[in-house]
Symmetry: C2
Subunit: 323 residues, 2 copies
């Protein structure tokens, strides 16, 4: 009876299943698993109760791609182009005209003021419901310029596995993004299994109004909160009210989030996705206008953060369930 019982036990034992099959068997993977096993082991001195197992992740460049520009900016440009085609009289500035022509080079030359103008035209002075319906429709139609994929399919399979593994081990998984909170909430639940209440991001001031008897949230034009750099720990403590024990990012915009997370007592894990794979994704780090990673590369290793080398550590890049 004993050998049979043992064999049956093996069949059902989740401990023998690989929780991260899309990660190669490198140091990064073993350190992640070792961390999770430590904080979930009641016998460990570093055991963490389930309620305190909070993990926060950047979105752009960490959970989904961010090249050639942030996808939310592509949404803004596409919206202005659509609005301009319907009514060219709204294109009252160089920035709006550049956006309507989908001329990113000319748009970037209009500087921050021009970008804000394009973001306002596509994000502000409308109901939250309308905005989110527009984003959902755009996600259905739009395709990435080089991969031809849906934007919400350009999500990283190894990170999906990490999110699921953490949740299976009792963690709450949050997005903490410099991108727009209302934008990310449109796809985060389906794409990552992360519900709206676990999405933290940048936002504009909104108001509550009853319009023709219908109560609704109206997105205004002024900035409310910038959830980037030092704003990330602030956003975390505002929304969650407790310090994460694990944080993942990919750029220096995530530095403070990882610093705040790993400065806490007990076992902590910081993780930076390093974009090293020009063949399967994009290769970039110290220079450019997106996802710049200098301080994280320079100080991360000595702070004990895992620098994930996409080319070396990931067996696959994009989600296997891509449509």
């Amino acid at each position: 009876m004993k050998p049979l019982f043992f064999a049956l036990a093996l069949v059902g034992a989740p401990v023998f299943a690989d929780p991260l099959p899309s990660w190669n068997d490198t140091d990064a993977k073993s350190r992640i698993i070792s961390f999770v096993e430590t904080v979930t082991n009641p016998e460990s001195a570093d055991y963490v109760t389930p309620a305190a197992r909070v993990a926060t992740f950047d979105n752009d460049g960490t959970l989904w791609a961010e090249q050639p520009v942030y996808f939310q900016l592509i949404y803004a440009v596409d919206q202005v182009a659509k609005m301009g085609a319907a009514d060219p009289s709204i294109l009252i500035s160089d920035a709006l005209k550049a956006a309507a022509a989908k001329d990113y080079k000319a748009l970037l030359e209009t500087g921050e003021a021009g970008l804000i103008e394009v973001l306002r035209a596509s994000h502000a002075d409308m109901s939250l419901d309308q905005f989110q319906a527009e984003v959902a429709a755009w996600l259905d139609d739009a395709r990435h310029p080089t991969t031809g994929m849906r934007y919400d399919d350009m999500i990283y399979q190894p990170m999906l596995e990490l999110l699921r593994y953490l949740r299976d081990e009792g963690f709450a998984t949050y997005i903490v993004s410099g991108g727009g909170i209302d934008f990310i909430r449109v796809f985060a639940e389906e794409a990552y299994g992360i519900p709206p209440e676990q999405v933290i991001g940048s936002s504009i001031v909104s108001s509550y109004e009853v319009v023709d008897g219908v109560p609704q949230i109206i997105k205004g034009a002024d900035l409310f909160f910038v959830d980037d750099k030092a704003g990330k720990p602030v956003g975390i403590m505002h929304h969650i009210g407790r310090r994460p024990i694990l944080a993942g990012g990919n750029s220096d915009g995530d530095f403070e989030m990882l610093e705040f997370t790993t400065a806490g007592e007990g076992a902590r894990l910081g993780l930076l996705v390093h974009h090293t794979d020009a063949e399967r994704e994009f290769a970039y780090d110290r220079e450019g206008h997106i996802g710049v990673l200098n301080r994280g590369q320079d100080e991360g290793p000595e702070r004990g953060w895992i620098i994930v080398d996409m080319a070396q550590d990931w067996r696959t890049v994009f989600a296997s369930n891509a449509r």
Copy 2:
């Protein structure tokens, strides 16, 4: 066999346990139970999936008492008195002097500017950790002027039962308070079983700073968000990102939250606690400086909201586990 089996089934059947034992068998109780049974019944046309079972509750006057003044104001006054005793030179205004003397009448006469000054002196320009440690110490020491109870014991047993009942039925229970988010988080988990990430409230601007190598959140002096009246639906959509199906309050500061909640499609429940019990708690509604309830009384019934009559509907008032 059949009668025995039936009897055994009855013994184990939770449906026969009263989920709200501190509620009298009045209309309010039966309407609450009927609502919960409807939205959790997969056979019902008004069935709601667990993820969408969001319930939001005001705190002051809804989950705990709020007389003779908001307890957070008592905290502020007690802190200024403590600081003034240690260093009288900080008492540079009439408002601070009135607070140091615990003279509420004189303090209220200094108007909103005076109150803000006292709130700033007790809430601003310190680390979040320090603030929350001070609040915890105060809760341990301070006692209510008329009941002699700990403030965090002056919580309503019927509402505790309602929170627990909702959670047992798959709801997420949130606090949505005009009071301070950082203040409420100190006691909400122990008092109500509501964790910090499910507390929404008013806040001041905070920042992230590394002080002597220690990363921390610093509470500044400027207002960030007022989570009252029309701010409540805004705060809800900012933090949760979905409309509640049940909302409970006690004053006109909760009107918009109930309006927004009950305007959604499908079964919805709005509930207002009406303070009618001078003997066991306090009786107040249309007049005064705290918990004024006019519009809710006038329009609530026709909107289908339950007006809970404390004296009639509640068998007990304060929590039975009071220390």
